[in-house]
Symmetry: C2
Amino acid sequence: MSGSVSTQRAETVVKPALLRALAGERLERPPVWFMRQAGRYLPEYRALRAETSGFISFCLDPERAAEATLQPMRRFAFDAAIVFADILLLPMGLGQKVWFEAGEGPRLGPLPSLEAMQARATEAAQSLTAVAETLTRVRAALEPERALIGFAGAPWTVATYMLEGGSSDRSKARSLAYTDPALVDGLIEVLVEATAHYLAMQVRAGAQVVKLFESWAEGLSEDLFFRLVTAPHMQLVARLRQLGVEVPVIGFPRGAGAMVLDYAAAVPIEGVALDTSAPASLGQIIQKHRTIQGALDPLLLRAGGEALDRRVDRLIEQWGGGPYIFNLGHGVLPDTPPEHVARVVERVTGRVQAP
Amino acid sequence: MSGSVSTQRAETVVKPALLRALAGERLERPPVWFMRQAGRYLPEYRALRAETSGFISFCLDPERAAEATLQPMRRFAFDAAIVFADILLLPMGLGQKVWFEAGEGPRLGPLPSLEAMQARATEAAQSLTAVAETLTRVRAALEPERALIGFAGAPWTVATYMLEGGSSDRSKARSLAYTDPALVDGLIEVLVEATAHYLAMQVRAGAQVVKLFESWAEGLSEDLFFRLVTAPHMQLVARLRQLGVEVPVIGFPRGAGAMVLDYAAAVPIEGVALDTSAPASLGQIIQKHRTIQGALDPLLLRAGGEALDRRVDRLIEQWGGGPYIFNLGHGVLPDTPPEHVARVVERVTGRVQAP
């Protein structure tokens, strides 16, 4: 026992704050990182991005993707980096064409047959080794006290794009869940398997935390929410553990509303990311058994001013008493002034500069 | 006391089921009506609508609007009619131009100055006497056991259209709530006053219940939700009571998620309409002090089949134990087969035909 205690003490010295928070520790101040902290609001990102014509080529270029990942880490005292990639890389590994039209959302080609996708589920991640290479490069460059996060789109969210051929209001995908359950449930099953392998690859390459982005949990009835979100997340986490992945998992069921309580109770993850509309009381209930993350309004981050300062203080006041990671409720908006990001990170960490 | 008891008993004979449910009674079976029960999914509506070129002209034509209101009442055993109108009629009364492009959403002209709108708040409803005339015609034609509902858009929802000039993701309006609070709060205040008078006019014309459609409560942080939704609804209900309106009010904060609990606790309304994503437990909590309404998925209504039957039974099972009004979680979709509506209404009421 004394051996394990000393190991634990030695680990504490270098264990990144994000991992300590995800282990349920309440820290002196919450660790902080932002969804889309790498991206268009940074002039150095826009310059880097301009060097490559296609967005997917950019994501699959480990040198540039690693640079994009690291850019905000140089500017701000973020406690974690998140690999620069896109949730729609995985459908490509399953044989569906994906492209981005300039100034528009993603576009996807015809959905391959379920059989064809089933045959590729296990090895789909193998076509995305560039993402693993990005993670390895970032991990090598990042200070040991700053954590590296890998991620994937959650099955339902990725399925909505695959079924609809692009961005949408998800009504076609939700309708299909009623009218063609064999297709939708079969696709979700394929995505659970493919995503588990994809995340396992990211962890082997250096990710210390993985996050599941369920960007489109909103508008689902309780039965569909369990079937399309909660149950697949449970299966995915179980599959990850089977594959030997032991790092903490953060789930982000954006738009789950009150159902995030059932989600947090049912899915054995370490962290639950809350969206902008989560009230204080909801987070406090979840904090009794999970670390929570969230949930500053990206529109307020963009607006700035004293209202922003007051809201940052309020979030720390309402949730800082339990295990908590400071973040936004959604991604940084492209026209956010970088000084506003600096101001919030400084307010949370007390640090003006990146380490 | 015996006098009041006998009055109560006499009233019970003709009191529409919807009003009894809103008074907190638990009935043998829930009353049922559907949001957008009048509209494009009905061939007789499409024929009627084709007689008039502009949508707003149609809404302001009492003869045709009354006919549209009554069409679903002839087909189905709905327990209530809701006046055919649009939530964007009121901005016209405040001096903002509103029009509908064929096949697109609503468009609004430049926002009048706050001062100009303040000057018109009290009498804005007077330009919408056509809606009152529609209500009077419908009430005269409707059986006494079927209730008539008036409605208005809630202040924040109407404000989003007025501020953005049409349909949108509300990010401009939400940003303005941070960057120009004087404008947004001033506009909400104008809308509270104008809406109270508009609803009072509807009640004088025959509406026995009024419903407040807060279609865009989603995506608001807790502080914005209180400021833009809960507080204005509280003020509006208080103003309605000041104006002598005594009929029950149903609030529908669509997308409120977990915050619907705080909303239901704070706003002194008789009914809380739940959206598609409200879990059973949430409704059961609210039923302890309010009548709830909801929340069949309109996509499942469109899809039909045994899954629809099972879900209808499940909703009645989960919420029928308290005061409950059967409805959808959002409006009937235009391509819904009318037979599916008939099937659900029959399943809820046990009646094949309209009375």
